[in-house]
Amino acid sequence: MSGPASTDPRMESVSGSVDIDKEATAVPAKKAGGEFLYFALRSRKFLFATAILLVLVGFAIFGPMIDTTDPMDTNGVQMSSPTMDAGNWFGTTILGEDVFAQFVNGLRATFFVGLLAGALAAFIGMAIGFTAGYKGGWVDEVLNMITNVVLVLPTLAVLIVISSYLKARGVLFEAVFVGLFSWPWVARAIRAQTFTLRSRDFIDLAKLSGRGTWKIIIQEIAPNMSSYLFMVFILLFGGAILFAASLDFIGLGPTGGMSLGLMMFNSVTYGAALTLGLWWWFIPPGLGIMAIVGALYVMNVGLDEIFNPKLRDI
């Protein structure tokens, strides 16, 4: 098992949304941000996804404040189905743990992992992608090699080795780890994009003006694909969450701490939730992940349509 890749092959293809044809939409010269907002507020997909995410983020932030029970606390009634009474909205596990408390705390961890891992992967992917694409030559060769190696490296094996040096694996560790293994496809894609930009005359101009590689990358190339980069991050975010969930489910999740993946793992492998019919234990975490990741993907399409006039549906 290796890092997650984009579910959206477009992100691999060079077409992307770099070429916005100005002629087509002679929108009055607004600021990019303003324009973004302008269309964002008119994209049903984007708004829908954002709404869902906001709700879940709300749960993750305020949930633990509302329900302060320790998700591992076994003091509750065992295997009680959901009721209206406070602290039992989602029922309890086989050990009497509060499923709601586990869910909201799990959401936190899940978002945390997604964000951190996504950001880390995006960063590495960009660094490598830009350098490879811009420098080309042997630098490109080497970086390409590294990318391919990481792409097929058995992530689990590495995880087991690394975790063996740690007394316990935390959520932070998981996030960093997932991030470290999710970037290869990004690097590839960005390399390709950079390739196409590298030859444009405004880059030559920048070169002539004697600016340094990184200055050019940051000031000229990156802005030209800012929208694309943002979408890449969104996809990484979702991918990381799914990846982390799988790790949890194989039993390599954080030791201690709670996550949606762990909830599923516990409910099935330890709690026998299926055969005891404790659906309220394993349904919420899966739905949660599905909602988050689904929303992220839909948001990605929305953004695509926002950034790329060719796709704006009327």
Binding site: T25, A26, V27
Partner: protein, 320 residues
Amino acid sequence: MSLQVSDLRVYYRTLAGDVKALDGATFSIADKEIMGLAGESGCGKSTLGNSLIRLDGRMKYVAGSVTLDGNALPIWDNTGMNEFRFRDLSVIPQYAMSAMNPTRKIGKMTGELLESRGENFAAIKPELLRRIDLVGLQRDVLNLYPMELSGGMKQRMVMVISTLLDPSLLIADEITSALDVSTQRAVAETLVSFRDHGFVKSMIVITHDVSILYQIADTILIMYAGKLAEKASTSAIINRPLHPYTRMLVSSLPEVGVRYADKKLSGIPGSPPSLLKPPTGCRFRARCPLAFDKCAEEPPFVEVDTDHWVACWKATGTDA
């Protein structure tokens, strides 16, 4: 009279609303005429060019008529237009570099295209090869993939393909913009030679590079903010421009080759108005040094001299 366009209005639908990119164009092109179509980015020249051949997804036909050699073109009807395309009017697109399917050999693709139009490829092939020679390409380009050709070669290939069925009208959209100066020349001359060989009857050459039009255009049509500003013979436009915008455009003409994309119009302060909600009256008013109260009314596009049309109160006289 090869092409007649009257009061053509084509808007862009965007989430923001309709962009009135082409807001009432009336002009005509004679047989053998090569008409240059010039203006700043976003003035609607490409919209005009495209609308004649194919309205893409976000273009909306609003009003006006187009007749080519006497037949009215149903430009609002994508499928209805098909029978005219390629045979009667054709295009060399802005994106000629990427106009050919990257995963098909050029010959195969051309063949499939022709067959799909009910032409007999075998019958046409000799002529195809002759024209390939003419534009100075190797005959075996037909066995190559587009990526194996240089930019200039691709462009010439596209020119050959587009004109293969001897269309009456050819629309060449910004075909020189991506090229270096010397190639621009070559391409321009090729266009003329196409007309002289009778591959095409008449031509619309869309560019923001007026200088290139010197060499090839018989007449020049200047557009501004979705409206026609002035149309006249090339010499007239250069030597006796009437519209203040044309004057500035011409006066600020740089030496051949440099493109407006690179440098702002030095002479003209300000930028074109939004075509979402264009101002009433003359759309150039805001930037016009000669603007006066009359300009609050929209100036008509009238023939002030033989084959010299202009839309400006100053030129037509306030009493008109």
